[in-house]
């Protein structure tokens, strides 16, 4: 067994820990691993080029930028915030938990590309969340706004991840089934997807509780500020 290619992993760990620019770190890691595994330079370049261009769908989100840029220029975020401010019953926690539920349900139906950081979080969820937080604590600081946007993005990720595993015709379930088939164990996709349900429920409950705790923290800060004033 050749253990030298593991140095590529070390390059990643050290590079990310020292916060070097991630792009050269990743490319150097690939070159180190490949060369230490004994690949020739020509093969390694071709492997790098081929794997890079076969992943082009990962840049698809940039196509949302012109439409979203234009709408933001025309005041989309300002409007989302003004609208949220008018909706008295829609609290921050209800907004985020509602979004979590919707995202998770869509993902269980295999519809993961419908929402996302570019499609829904930046133009809609984040500004609405900021407005909802402002209803609790009117003077939000820059750090608070960034934390809130991060919570919105985290909610989007968790909803997607722990929904998509329940969908039978996609990625994870088929991969698990294919692995077992290769090793002589026959399972139906449904039998596998079923066992992703308990975690899907647990993930929903856990993230909802954390959103609620986050809101309570803001409320307590607001209360303290009021007492102090």
């Amino acid at each position: 067994m050749n253990y030298w290619p593991l140095l590529g992993v070390a390059v990643i760990v050290v590079g990310f820990a020292l916060r070097f620019n991630a792009v050269p770190v990743v490319v150097v890691a690939a070159l180190v691993s490949g060369l230490l595994a004994g690949l020739s330079v020509a093969d390694l370049l071709a492997l790098l080029g081929n794997s890079f261009v076969s992943q082009r769908m990962l840049l698809l989100f940039v196509l949302t930028l012109p439409a979203i840029g234009l709408l933001e220029r025309a005041g989309l975020r300002e409007h989302a915030q003004r609208w949220m401010a008018r909706l008295q019953n829609l609290t921050l926690a209800r907004l985020l938990i509602g979004y979590l539920l919707l995202r998770q349900l869509l993902a269980t139906m295999g519809l993961t590309g419908v929402a996302g950081a570019a499609q829904t979080v930046r133009p809609l969820l984040a500004p609405m969340g900021e407005a909802a937080a402002q209803k609790i604590l009117p003077e939000l600081e820059q750090d608070d706004r960034e934390e809130l946007r991060a919570v919105a993005a985290a909610t989007d990720n968790i909803g997607r991840f722990f929904g998509e595993d329940v969908f039978i015709a996609l990625g994870a379930v088929l991969l698990i089934q294919a692995f077992y088939t290769q090793h002589g164990i026959e399972l139906s996709p449904l039998a596998i997807a079923l066992w992703a349900l308990p975690t899907a429920v647990a993930a929903f409950v856990i993230q909802s509780v954390r959103i609620w705790l986050y809101q309570r923290r803001l409320q307590r800060r607001a209360a303290r500020r009021e007492r102090g004033a």
Partner: protein
């Protein structure tokens, strides 16, 4: 017929446009970066077709292009383009346009949803409107174009203003946009270099084989750790299953395969929430939302990931050896 390749050409055109605009503004490094990336996107189909036909030269050129991007990336300073309109102007426009602004924004998820659900049925005679592979993503690309046209109409602004705004956002995201592709490529290089096999070998050397619970814990933590390293639970799964799951847990200790597979994979998903290697979920959103801390999204989901892992592991431990 609309295929995913059309979306790639559209991306290539947008990248080349961004490069050209940066060149005109005198930002040479940005210009070079987007132009090289645009060329890789435009030539992608040709590269893959030539590789399949046995000609490795275009793929090798692409590999050199990737290395060029790595050299250019550190030179891209995040430049704050001034917003083209003041906050006051935007507020004025928001008051004037009101809910009409939501329309085009919601068109993006809506059109994507419609294509995902019904795109397969849109057939005129023998002519299918959407190609089967990657139909949802083709739908997303189409949705973006429709939303841009609708947004231009609602805001009474020419379409090219939208493309210019898009380029401003793209420059703000910068090299972070590239990471998902690079990390996916790195995963493939790791696989070809035998990194996974080497880690599995080390793991099994230290493994307590007699105790079922201990083996299960090593399996679950291994899924998390391996996903953190590779950035992808799909890469971790076959390695951990072949190393520990199948020979030890299933064949020796009689673990239930469906439960072990499903919940083991979900342990890996908890790792995805924790790692900068999963750039498309963790780093790109941070750049897109203009967070100063690139690890802000990971920080926000770390506790959720730990709790979800703890509950999944507990359920797996209770259920898998029934």
């Amino acid at each position: 017929m609309l295929r995913i390749e059309h979306a790639y050409w559209l991306i290539a055109a947008f990248l080349l446009y961004s490069g050209w605009r940066n060149l005109r503004d005198g930002h040479r490094w940005h210009a070079a970066f987007w132009i090289v990336l645009g060329l890789l996107f435009g030539a992608g189909d040709f590269i893959l077709a030539q590789s399949a036909a046995g000609n490795a030269l275009p793929a090798q050129m692409a590999g050199i292009g990737v290395i060029a991007l790595a050299c250019l990336a550190p030179r891209l300073r995040r430049q704050a383009h001034p917003e083209n309109r003041s906050a006051e102007q935007r507020l004025q426009s928001a008051i004037e346009l009101g809910h009409r602004l939501f329309g085009p924004a919601l068109l993006i998820p809506l059109v994507t949803l419609l294509v995902a659900l019904f795109g397969g049925y849109l057939v005129i005679g023998q002519f299918a409107l959407f190609a089967k592979p990657q139909m949802t993503l083709t739908g997303l690309a189409l949705a973006c174009v429709i939303a841009l046209l609708a947004a231009a109409r609602v805001a009474r602004t020419p379409v090219h203003e939208g493309v210019a705004e898009g380029r401003r956002l793209l420059d703000a995201i910068g090299w972070a946009a590239l990471l998902p592709l690079l990390l996916a490529a790195l995963g493939q290089v790791f696989t070809r270099s035998g990194v996974g096999a080497a880690i599995a070998e080390i793991a099994t050397d230290f493994l307590p084989t007699g105790n079922a619970t201990a083996a299960l814990a090593v399996f679950a933590l291994g899924m998390v750790l391996f996903t953190v390293i590779m950035g992808n639970a799909f890469a971790a799964f076959p390695v951990m299953m072949a190393g520990i799951g199948l020979p030890l847990l299933i064949q020796q200790h009689g673990a239930h395969p469906a439960i072990l597979g499903a919940m083991g994979m979900l342990c890996g998903y908890c790792g995805t929430l924790l790692t900068p290697m999963a750039a498309d979920f963790n780093l790109v959103p941070a750049a897109l939302l203009e967070l100063r801390n690139p690890y802000g999204v990971i920080k926000a989901q770390a506790w959720s990931a730990l709790w979800i892992f703890a509950s999944t592991f507990t359920m797996m431990w209770l259920l898998v050896f029934r």
